[in-house]
């Protein structure tokens, strides 16, 4: 509870791990190497007893709702992990900074993280426009750039150009394909309108969707993040006669589009892509209207969306239960949300990567470890990652769900695909249960 008692636990835990390791080393007959050696300051950001990890998030501004909760989830996971001894006896020191979803700020804070804080790796940097601004810098500096929190193809498509960068979540193009196929199969007569963020996010999504239902699309309207007046865009969708609207937008624009639709008396079937669809968040954004004009906050009732991770609407899922426990024990104020689960899931994958990178990880060793073993790791995502030497793309699996109140009902099994012409297939695996304490146990693949 108090700082000092937590520290004591950590010291005890570290001591236990250290003595266990020492015992192992003895058993090996002092062969050195492997798991039995001593912790060394093997690279920048690594000391004998700590690993420094950095991140950038929009904690303020137009993208902050929801996203600003992600690092609190990451922090909770690492705090619990540290209490259990961290990774190979090293505590994870997690530093995240606010870039307000402004690429200029992203460059500044990432410079600070890399050059002043001297982090070992960047993890979960959020946003396509923001993270694009630091992509060259991180790769030029040779800083591992793990699990960018965005579904752009940029992070994983060309590992030879950006060898240190890895994607994590389902890319928007694969998501678009899965949505497109779902509409083609289930709403073959729908006149589809697209509501797109005017950047890679909207473009990739649109490309995926058009592969399946190009002839059903009657209008594609774009909004510019920052301009909160989307009245003209929604009016254009309505005028084009779209009775089914797919949104590739961030959560605040889900709320804005719903408000405008209310004003226009426009009631299409809504389908919000994963990014913009969190019902709890959108509900809380709209909650003050409930006392007046809008009868309740469940404007999103009946909308469709996609999921690649279990969320708070699935309290029976073993991963969600484990994340709930972590949040209760190590989290801060507030409830467990889907954004915090997202952060914890990314932290889990990071822990797997650090374990796989061996007892004394190096930056290049970490990259090698993810390329070698990353596609076999089991975790909270519905489908496995695509990591290899040729691809740094993250998971590719998604299922389509329908939002009812604050929960979601599955409409399809988990579907997996890849960029370009890759087929959409049903994923035949099962989600693995979480390991004890949700701490991964991955063997080192580097040494």
């Amino acid at each position: 509870m108090t700082r000092s008692s937590r520290r004591l636990t950590r010291i005890l835990a570290t001591a236990t791990v250290a003595s266990t390791l020492a015992a192992c080393g003895g058993g090996d007959g002092g062969s050195g190497g492997g798991g039995g050696g001593e912790n060394e300051a093997s690279d920048i950001g690594i000391t004998e007893d700590s690993i420094k990890i950095g991140a950038h998030y929009p904690l303020t501004g137009v993208a902050a709702p929801g996203y600003s909760e992600i690092p609190t989830g990451v922090q909770a996971y690492f705090d619990c992990l540290n209490q259990e001894g961290g990774i190979n006896g090293r505590e994870i020191e997690y530093i995240y900074r606010d870039d307000a979803y402004n690429p200029t700020n992203t460059s500044a804070v990432v410079n600070q993280l890399v050059l002043e804080d001297e982090v070992f790796a960047i993890m979960g940097g959020l946003g396509t426009p923001t993270h694009s601004a630091v992509l060259e810098f991180l790769n030029a500096e040779g800083v591992p750039d793990l699990f960018v929190a965005s579904g752009s193809r940029l992070w994983g498509e060309n590992p030879e150009d950006y060898p240190y960068t890895f994607g994590w979540q389902t890319d928007y193009e694969s998501e678009g394909k899965i949505i497109g196929q779902y509409i083609a199969e289930n709403f073959p007569d729908a006149r589809v309108g697209l509501f797109l963020q005017d950047d890679d996010f909207g473009e990739d999504g649109e490309r995926g969707i058009r592969e399946y239902i190009d002839d059903q699309i009657v209008a594609a309207e774009r909004y510019v993040p920052g301009n909160t007046d989307v009245g003209p865009q929604i009016a254009a969708l309505q005028a084009a006669g779209a009775d089914f609207v797919v949104g590739f937008n961030v959560p605040s624009y889900t709320a804005l589009s719903q408000l405008v639709a209310l004003r226009l008396g426009y009631q299409p079937q809504w389908f919000y892509s994963n990014v913009g669809s969190d019902p709890a968040l959108v509900g809380s954004l709209l909650q003050n209207f409930s006392q007046g004009a809008v009868s309740d906050a469940s404007l999103l009732d009946g909308a469709l969306t996609t999921e690649y991770l279990p969320g708070v609407d699935a309290p029976d899922n073993a991963w969600v239960q484990e994340f709930q426990r972590i949040w209760d024990e190590c989290g801060g104020e507030g409830e467990l949300t889907n954004y915090r689960i997202y952060g914890m899931a990314q932290a889990f994958t990071t822990a797997q990567a650090l374990q796989a990178a061996g007892q004394n990880p190096t930056r290049d060793g970490l990259v090698e470890a993810i390329e070698t073993a990353g596609s076999e790791w089991e975790g909270p995502t519905f489908a496995p990652f695509r990591y290899s030497e040729d691809s740094h793309m993250g998971t590719s699996g998604m299922q389509v769900s329908r939002i009812t109140g604050t929960t979601a009902e599955e409409q399809t099994p988990v579907l997996v695909t890849d960029l370009g012409n890759a087929e959409i297939e049903e994923f035949d695996g099962e989600q693995a249960p979480p390991p004890a304490n949700a701490i991964p146990d991955v063997e080192s693949v580097v040494d």
Binding site: D198, V224, P232, A235, Q238, L259, G292
Partner: protein, 292 residues
């Protein structure tokens, strides 16, 4: 056709809020000859006061009154404490101070209320009126916004044209020395000008917030468009500010709907440039040489 009507209505409604904000800028310009860039975040601050009251159970109207009163006090205090020391110096000094205030207020709101998005309740309905089977983008709440802007404009015109206070305010702005010699209490008039402008600014902040989302920087776009509207109208004329606001609102809605939403901000600046090139004093400048 339905789309054209809806885009036009959307433009008119946003335009009327730009107009309200432009009115506040005009008011302060008329009474002090300063362009107040802090207007936006001052208005945001009072909107957040109103939101806090509404969330704790107050009615919208009581909260509105409290917000306007706190706007009045805030405007007066800012003038007395922050602006007074730089008044009379080079004009640029006061302008830079208001820029600093703008950032300071925004940061203060974020410290007190946090920077998350909140929905701001509207006093009237948010569903569009129906004509036959079609719904148009005109809601009871947008009628309220339009009405409030018109009432404010008429009130300001009356204040400046028919009252002694209005006359005294204009006099102190034009020529402090002369006004003082004629018995006008110039210091008070300047304070009053700032206070009234802050009230009008607060009102525009509340109008744009109603039925939408607010966060500490939600007035940023409004500051730019409101400023363009005020300059279009000549910075000196309440009618000009309203006409400027409505034209900007319409023009930007058409650009967003029929050309490209990415060009909205650019379009505002192009309009501003063209108008200033053709009529340097703005559309409604009454005379070019009114300097004392």
């Amino acid at each position: 056709m339905q789309q054209f009507v809806n885009v036009t209505l959307t433009g008119l409604i946003s335009g009327s809020v730009y107009a309200a904000f432009a009115l506040a800028l005009v008011l302060i310009w008329r009474s002090t000859r300063i362009v107040n860039f802090a207007q936006g975040s001052m208005a945001a601050a009072t909107s957040f006061i109103a939101l806090a009251l509404i969330q704790s159970g107050w009615s919208y109207w009581l909260a509105l009154v409290v917000a306007l009163v706190s706007g009045f006090v805030l405007g007066a205090v800012v003038e007395r404490v922050v602006i007074r020391p730089v008044e009379g110096g080079p004009e640029l000094n006061a302008v830079i101070v208001t820029l600093g205030l703008f950032i300071a207020f925004q940061a203060l709101i974020a410290i007190v209320y946090g920077s998350s998005f909140e929905s701001f309740p509207a006093p009237f309905g948010l569903r569009g009126f129906s004509i036959g089977d079609t719904t148009i983008a005109l809601t009871p709440n947008s009628l309220y916004v339009l009405g409030a802007v018109v009432v404010t404009m008429v009130g300001l015109i009356a204040l400046f044209r028919f009252t002694r206070v209005g006359l005294a305010m204009r006099a102190s702005a034009f020529g402090q020395e002369v006004a003082r010699l004629l018995g006008v209490r110039v210091g008070r008039m300047l304070t009053l000008g700032w206070a009234l402008a802050a009230v009008v600014g607060s009102l525009s902040g509340l109008l744009i917030a109603g039925g939408g989302l607010v966060w500490p920087a939600y007035m940023d776009a409004l500051i730019v468009f409101g400023f363009v509207a005020a300059v279009l109208g000549g910075l000196d004329s309440p009618v000009g500010a309203v006409v400027g606001g409505l034209s900007i609102g319409l023009a930007l809605a058409y650009v967003s709907a029929y050309i490209d939403p990415a060009l909205v901000n650019l379009a505002a600046l192009v309009i501003l440039m063209v108008v200033l090139l053709v009529r340097p004093g703005g559309l409604f400048a009454s005379s070019t040489a009114r300097r004392a």
